[in-house]
């Protein structure tokens, strides 16, 4: 019976058929993969449509506070402090931003509070890339615009290739970031040391997930499962 293994002569075993089969398989795989990639690209481009009427706000200066988990800090020295921990790929952070983003932006603009954004990246490579881009945006005074745009186009699936260098630069261009310095910073990953520091500070502040909010250093325990703007505002006033 081992003879069967050695008999290579079969209707499907001659050289021509073999190459034909290899050729067909290659063709199927290549055309299938191209079909998948093109489909995904089209879908990605469609998702940018939501940014067409994105309104860019004023530039806001921020600093990176290395003593406070390398957070992106606005209005250092204001009486009240709000620490916000978020991951660019976290879907609940998107919900949080959409519910309370306006209120927080207001706190930043009117300098009512010292707002610190801790952009962490525990959801994988594309969180790292997006967090790096967020730090780049902060350098140009456009962190708030960039993170808002990021959440608007946030894909449902994590690490699916959407937060690529190319797409992050594109998201930036909608958020008023058209400079060469921004795209260089995204391409080179210039802020990766800060991204790493922010991620590593999670355990120090006992942050186990995102979004997590601290008012004056005290963790916000929300009563309601939905992020009610009224509840957030009340918690801020009470702090």
């Amino acid at each position: 019976m081992a003879k069967q293994a050695k008999s290579t002569k079969s209707s499907g075993g001659d050289k021509f058929t073999r190459w034909l089969v290899i050729g067909m398989v290659t063709l199927v795989v290549a055309s299938g993969a191209i079909f998948s990639i093109v489909g995904e690209k089209t879908k990605a481009n469609e998702s940018f449509a939501i940014l067409n009427d994105f309104k860019v706000g004023p530039t806001l200066v921020s600093t990176v506070d290395e003593a406070n988990g390398s957070g992106i800090t606005f209005n250092n020295g204001a009486a009240k402090t709000v620490d916000i921990w978020e991951d660019p790929q976290c879907p609940v952070c998107k919900t949080f931003e959409q519910a309370n983003g306006e209120f927080i932006d207001e706190l930043v603009r009117t300098k009512k509070a010292n707002v610190v954004y801790h952009v962490v990246s525990f959801l994988g490579n594309e969180s790292v890339a997006a967090a790096n881009a967020a730090y780049c945006a902060a350098d140009e005074g456009r962190y708030l615009d960039f993170h808002k745009a990021l959440y608007l186009v946030q894909p449902v699936l994590e690490n699916s290739g959407f937060f690529s260098t190319e797409n992050l630069i594109k998201i930036g261009s909608y958020a008023g970031l058209k400079s060469q310095s921004f795209s260089d910073c995204v391409t080179k990953g210039s802020k990766l040391d800060k991204v790493k520091a922010a991620y590593e500070s999670m355990s120090k502040y006992n942050v186990q997930g995102t979004p997590t909010v601290f008012f004056n250093g005290k963790k916000w325990e929300r009563q309601n499962n939905a992020f009610l703007p009224s509840e957030f505002a009340a918690a801020f006033e009470a702090s």
């Binding site: 069967q4 398989v25 994988g124």
Partner: protein, 165 residues
Amino acid sequence: MINLHKKYQPFITLICRLLLGGVLLVAGGLKAFKPSESAGAVAAYKILPTNLAHLIGYALPWLEIAIGILLIIGLSIRFAAVIGIGVMVIFIAAIISVWARGILIDCGCFGGGGEVDPSKASEAHRAYLIEILRDLGLALSGAYLYFFPYGRLSIEKPIKNNEEQ
């Protein structure tokens, strides 16, 4: 024993073909139409650079479909079996790798995939073991097909019947 095997070999070959081919076809088919999930699942293994991982995530389902069809219709069985074994060995190595590095993911074998909740660690570890055993069984089916490619309901047949058939 040998005679018994000779008698049933064409049927065992058929079963192995349908088993390996069927699993590959179903697994590939489920993934091929959810390409971004597939790409994300390969990336979650954190073995390859992200771009390469995505490319493989897009191409692999189609390779599985192609090989699966070849095995089921019984064409170029040996060639298909070798690729099938290769794919299974890579899967096993990848699962062992994530297990050893303590990464918790859903294998993405039949679509879906990605990282899982850390609280489900023990379930994930048991799932890894089952996945390894399953892929090992499929790889063994492939190995059997390499040695005995000719069986029932197959397009490909030996031209020259050797003395034992």
